[in-house]
Amino acid sequence: MEPPPHIVGIQHFVDYKSVDEILKSKDFRQGSHQESQPFFGGSLLTIDHGEHFDRRRLEAPLFRKEALEYYEREELLPLIAKSLEECERNRGEDGIVRADLCLLVRNMLARISAVTTGIDGVDTPERTDAFRTYVEQLGTGATVEWSTEDHGEVIDRILEIRAGFVEEFYGPSVERRRELISAFQAGDISENDLPRDLLTLMYLHWNDDWDDELPLREATLYTVASSQTTTHAVPHMMMHLHEWFEAHPEDFEKRFDREFLKRAGHEAIRLHLPSPALLRIALKDVVLSDGTEIAEGERVACLFTPANRDTSVFGEDAKSFDPYREADGVKPWGFAFGGGEHTCIGRTLVTGLSARTDGDEGTDGTLVNIALALFEAGIELDPAEMPAFTELSYHDAYGTFPVILRNL
């Protein structure tokens, strides 16, 4: 398949070492999202160095251990349970509950991303559908560089759709937060009464250098990016585990083992990345350690999928799924969350927070908790219809993934 026009003719890097070196280097800046500025411009994803540090510092409290524990316990687990409960409405005449795993996980993550971003009213199945549809459209605008349609037309169309999102969801959510912040600043409520989300944080610590629409673009980044990794990975994880248990029936009982599921999740996101490539622009002439020269101003593409299957790092069977894989000296998910200062700020929401030196157990993240809930619900592939990849994406993304939830 031909690469998209915006990366044709530029240097590609496919080996782990080169990609790692470029992402770590301070001699490059973000080179992706040149055309999608109306949606992501000025957001954490597109700013570098000092500005990136300041924004990250502002938003870091959302990812403190206490915050992650709160999200997991108070938001994520109830939302997973509620989404599965709603599946029972689809019980067939044979008494069996069927669902499309892709849609189910997208709805779960839409609700979770709404909570972390600060979008109210994503509660009923109907409102969740509406919100999720907006987020998916915004995602199309935010990745317009990869679109096979006319890019100008895509941007115009999605900006119009975004106006509907602002009117229906974003505007009222911001209004409520501004009122709460005013009440807090007047001493009528305490800081603990404020929501723990991105929009509250931004309006509470408003920076006069920001334009009025920056919180909307930052919220777009959060809603789009925070659901992407998990929605892409869970169907792959379930398929890999289905095949693994067929080949290793002695491991079937481990479907309830959080450590096993964590390893399976890491393998799924290593093999199936939500973003297959990332572009960087050289700030000066650079010579990589292998002698490759990159000129000042040159854009280069880091291709994550081959880098994450680099046999020199992940072993001769790097293309295979192995929950027992040990890769020394690298993160088990490779570049699934990027690298360097642009490493995804929400990584711990997906992977959980590893046990820390203070002896706490940390959190397990969305992948493990969703997988565990699905196994407890008795997930099985539906023999009547096999999963299929979407035709709408260059990625290896499932479009449909029919399942039976035997225990519901």
Binding site: E341, H342, T357
Partner: protein
């Protein structure tokens, strides 16, 4: 005065040398010859507890524990 309760470590396998920790607290962190973060005082006074918490969360690769 050093504190046995705080024991700062940087996982060199995870660190990517962004230097965010150094920007936050140059008395505790430094970028070493290998371009990765290093700890100058591994058992600092408790007055550094808050900034260590911030450094651990802010580190893009979460390479810092304490």
């Amino acid at each position: 005065m050093s504190n046995p309760e705080l024991h700062v470590k940087i996982d060199k396998l995870i660190c990517q040398g962004t230097g965010y920790c150094v920007r936050l607290e140059p008395e505790i962190f430094v970028i070493g010859d290998d371009d990765l973060g290093e700890v100058l005082i591994d058992k600092p006074d408790t007055k550094y507890a808050d900034v260590l918490e911030e450094a651990a969360v802010l580190c893009p690769t979460r390479a810092i524990t304490y």
